[in-house]
Subunit: 187 residues, 4 copies
DNA sequence: AATGAATGAGGTTTCATTCAT
DNA sequence: AATGAATGAAACCTCATTCAT
């Protein structure tokens, strides 16, 4: 109560709590998708539900926050791929990176599958991802490894399908990517 | 009354009610997927919940019944396609048929997306569909329109992806099919 | 439809149905007590629920009817015992007879247990049974095998307890009767 | 605040609520037996149904909790009786104590009646009670107030019958106990 | 009179969210 | 700011009883 020591301000408890919630939610969503109870998230985070709700006023807000975070990771990685020098198979590498992420994260496969759709939420995610995909696409087209008529919309669908294949364990998703790339490349 | 044939009761009221329930469920599931309340189904069907539960003792049973019915339709249509004489583009026509059905039925896109996965339920659906797809695949390969190394597993993934693309309105699904077919055709 | 034969009137279908319902209910109640669904009774009786409800407008009415029937059997047997010449151990024989009946009929053990209470229903049953018990009691008292201060109320309680012992399989009910009789005899 | 001892929160609100639920359930069960709705219990307790289910995750759990509590009371009282010095009429006093409790509590008469049976649940209750009854029985037999051949099984039946007599208001239960004791004493 | 399908009130249980401490 | 108990609106399902044929 009367501790004279000035609180070190690098990291407040509040911030730490927020992180713990995010981490717990990330882990749980990755494991089981979004069908997880709020109280379970709080329990795993080691905080009370009240705290959880203070940070994220709504179940949706929490899911959104995780999605945003993880999506940003994907986009950052995509950015790095796009900025790298290797130009020809950038798109392939982007798809494989997304696959790797989704294969380890059930929640994210749900998010990405939805995000590639035209509903309200996560419009920016799609746009950001497709913007980068567009760059890679241009280069691939310049190299002749992808057909001229291919659009980012096509990539959009391929990614959506990829998410579904992974989420439902519908087969070997790397093979799916190969097929899709062949499809984009042909002609 | 004066029908010469002994009046066979072709449709009892009970059967009619069953159909009304099925139709209501089908419409609601098509419109909004499976997140529909039993009481809502009953209301739309114009029957009491008790009646609904008499026909389908469980929420799952109702979903299953609709899925079975619609799945059978798809498979029957696929069968007809496979039995038709035209051999070259049978696979393409199969995919388009599936697309048409799913595009009008949100519930079915959920069903098919899941069905193409490796979980327990609806295993037969997948197998039946893939069996027919396998025939069409063979023919296409004989015609050289599909690569020799393509398997029904690839078709499985393509269909799963297709369902996701449609369900999430992730783009022009006919174009998705073209891309996928090109991918299977290449090499 | 145009059968000329006059219907034999010894036993109408309606009467036969009533008996089938009674028999089914008796058997089911004996087996499982009164927690049996009306539709189950109808099914076992081989009639529709509607028929069942025509005969017995209420679940309670059906239970009541069975109770009445079976109770009448008990009372008749008691009557015969009382009218027999053997005077000394009539009460013992009455109790044992009741025990035999209840041991084979879970529903009846419920009925008798309740009937010996002071609630509304089955007042007459209790009175009829106790009237006969009273006669036997008198004789036993005359013979000195039962104490002078013993009343039919005491017998009432002994029977109620007997029903409970049997219904709950709480021990050897014949031994219970011995103890009770010793209790009534003593002094 | 100025308590020297570190303020130990003796009773949190949660505990108070738990007690309110227990008390409400106890009162309702005592009044009407176990055929009481959960929502009614919640209403009387002055809490929401959710709270009730937080404390007792199941209807059965609540009934069990009440039964356990009250049963423990009975056994504790029996224990005290057995530990008291007065040896001769301990059994009588035990029975009367049980009678007093059951007479004020319909739910408990149901519980005890069942508990004395040979089904699975509440086996320990019966055993605990009969263990104590056994001690009292031994002493009574040593004093000659109960016959040598009497067993705890006999007491078991007497208690079961007592519960039934009380539950169904089948007469003066104190008199029932007298008769039963006379029965055990005789010979 | 018989049938059994239909009814819907009523019961249990869950879980996102609120709120008193 | 943190806590977690409390809340109560749903959602599912059952079964005694009614009613059209």
């Amino acid at each position: 109560m009367s501790t004279p020591q000035p609180r070190r301000r690098t990291r407040t408890d509040a911030e730490r709590n927020r992180d713990r919630v995010l981490e717990a939610a990330r882990a749980l969503f990755a494991e089981s998708g979004h069908d997880v109870q709020m109280s379970e998230v709080a329990r795993v985070a080691g905080v009370g539900v009240g705290t959880l709700y203070r940070k994220f006023p709504t179940r949706e807000a929490l899911i959104e926050a995780i999605a945003e975070q993880r999506t940003a990771d994907i986009i950052a990685a995509a950015r790095r791929l796009a900025d790298a020098d290797d130009p020809a198979d950038g798109l392939a590498r982007l798809l494989h990176h997304v696959g790797e992420v989704l294969a380890d994260d059930r929640g994210m496969s749900e998010v990405i599958e939805k995000a590639m759709g035209s509903g309200e939420p996560r419009e920016e995610t799609r746009e950001a991802l497709l913007a980068i995909a567009g760059e890679l696409l241009d280069r691939a087209q310049a190299h002749g490894t992808v057909g001229r008529e291919v659009t980012t919309g096509d990539v959009n669908m391929v990614i959506c399908g990829l998410a579904a294949v992974i989420r439902n364990a519908a087969g070997d998703w790397r093979r799916y990517i190969e097929v899709a790339l062949d499809g984009l490349r042909s002609r």
